[in-house]
Every structure is written in structure tokens, then in C-alpha cells.
Symmetry: C2
Subunit: 138 residues, 2 copies
Amino acid sequence: MTYDPKYENKLRESGLRPTKQRIKICEVLFNSTETFHFTIKDLVKIIENQANIKVSLATVYNTVHAFNKKGYLKEIPINSSQSYYDTNISHHHHFFDEDENKLIDIDQNDVDEVMIKKTIPGKKIKSIEVIAKIVTDN
Amino acid sequence: MTYDPKYENKLRESGLRPTKQRIKICEVLFNSTETFHFTIKDLVKIIENQANIKVSLATVYNTVHAFNKKGYLKEIPINSSQSYYDTNISHHHHFFDEDENKLIDIDQNDVDEVMIKKTIPGKKIKSIEVIAKIVTDN
DNA sequence: TCAACAGATTAGAATGATTTTAATGTATGT
DNA sequence: ACATACATTAAAATCATTCTAATCTGTTGA
Ligand SMILES: [Mn+2]
Ligand SMILES: [Mn+2]
Ligand SMILES: [Zn+2]
Ligand SMILES: [Zn+2]
């Protein structure tokens, strides 16, 4: 079976074989010119709405985790009962709207680069995330 | 019944009556000169080790949530199966050691103040958190 | 002082996201 | 086409957190 090589590559590089379920997930995640933020529940809902095929929760979790590990998706650190993921893997930061429970991108240019003077012996920095919580102003 | 007024005040200001369970929680959280990071499970374990009294999980959750809401504790945003809290409520940031699953304080002086140029109409910034994930360097 | 009651405690049940299981199905190299 | 490693799935398990509802206690005002 042969699939859109763009998706097949992403899957193989993530250590996964291309299957129709995974290709469907790729179509939802990587088709659009717009990036977006989502939870697993969001993603399942989108797939259900578009799809002629059914994808089990387990497969959605497995695939998202593999993409996150490979770096094709980013998990955004918020305290929430669910994990939030981002299809925008460029270096950028976030507002988290606590009224709407929604992430909003902050372009890298809109935040001065975060410089941390402290270091921990034997450890290296893997990522730096800035989360600014926002609420209705009144 | 009368209790250490330091703890009684914190409790009343958080909208809670002083009870022996809650005072015990206060002793663990606020007695030490050192601040620390903890999960609910950590806190329950510390209480069990020190205490002559038993405190139910429900009471621990309720009390921690009230202190967090009032600002006597801070919840630290990490993606983890459990919530992390901080008894250090001064403005500061964190390393998260992914090998040890441990938070490490970064003094405010060790990070340039984060300035965000972007604004969202009708919304105000409630907090800004910087999380730097660290891993063993080799 | 003390009864009345609002609020607190608790064990255990419920919830809900995530992970695991194990039976069945499929992609891939030969 | 075959063998095999990997994938899919429904359902169960896990586990942090929240809820419930029965019982208890701090507080207050008569
Ligand atoms: Mn995860
Ligand atoms: Mn919480
Ligand atoms: Zn984003
Ligand atoms: Zn801290």
C-alpha cells in the first residue's frame, strides 16, 4: 500500500509503519497551513467528523506520543486534567486563557529571549517554555 | 481551642477554620525555613511520618487547593500525572529535572525579566512562568 | 454555658485521562 | 504467498483527583 510520502516519512521517522489510521491522523495534524493546539479528545472528535474510518483511542495516543517524542508535535506544559499538544513546533511561547481553556501562540519575536544564568552541573537545558496565564480584565 | 496564630491566620484568610488536621498540614508546609516543592502524595507521606494524627486525602486536597487559591502556595505548571506545588511563593522560575522528576528553583535574579509585547484585547496577564527542562548532559 | 448549626472530616465511591492487555489484523521483506 | 514483526482494537486496569454522604466539631448567640 502506498501513501502520501510526506506523511509516510513522518511516520517512518517516528518509528511507525504507515497504516490508514495513522495516515488519517497525519491528515488532521499536518494537512492544514494553520497550526493548532489540541487535546487527545479534540483530535478524536476531529477524526470522527472527517473520517470514513474509525481510529481507536489507543492508536491515537500511541501515534501522538511517537510524534511528540520525535519532535513533530510539542506537548505544552499546563496544569490541566488533559495534555495539550501543538502542531506548531517552532520555538515560541503561549498565553493560556483560563476563561476559555485555550492556548494562544506568542511569537518568538514578541518575547525577549529567556536567558538563564544558573546552571546545574551535569545537566543541560532541553527546552525553555514560557506560559503566561491570562484572564478577563475588568 | 487555640492554635499557633501564624497558622490560624493563614487558614482563616484562606476561608478555612483551624482544625487539628489543617494545623498539621500547616506545620509541614510552613514550619521550615526552607521552601520546597511537593506533590499531594509527597505531602501525605510527610504527614504520615510525623503525625500522631491521621489526615484524610480529601482534607489534604481541600486544604492545598484553598492555600493555592489564596496564594499561600503556588501550583507549578508541568506536564505530569500529578500536580506539583511550591511553598516558595516569591516570584521565581524553575528547572524541571526530567531524570529525577524534580523541580529546582531559579532565582528571579538568574533570569532576565520576561517581557511579552503581544497583548490580547480584554485580557490581562495573571502570571508568567518559565519552565526549563533539563536532562543529564553526556 | 450550651444547644444549634454551619462547616469539617472521612472512607469509600465515582470520574476521567491515560495506559495496558490480549486477541485479531496488516505491512513488509523474501 | 509466507512468515513475522508490528499495529489495531475493545475493553479492562490504573491512578490522580473529585465527589458523596454519613458523622463529627468549631463557633456563635441565647
Ligand atoms: Mn503523555
Ligand atoms: Mn488542582
Ligand atoms: Zn503554540
Ligand atoms: Zn520553586
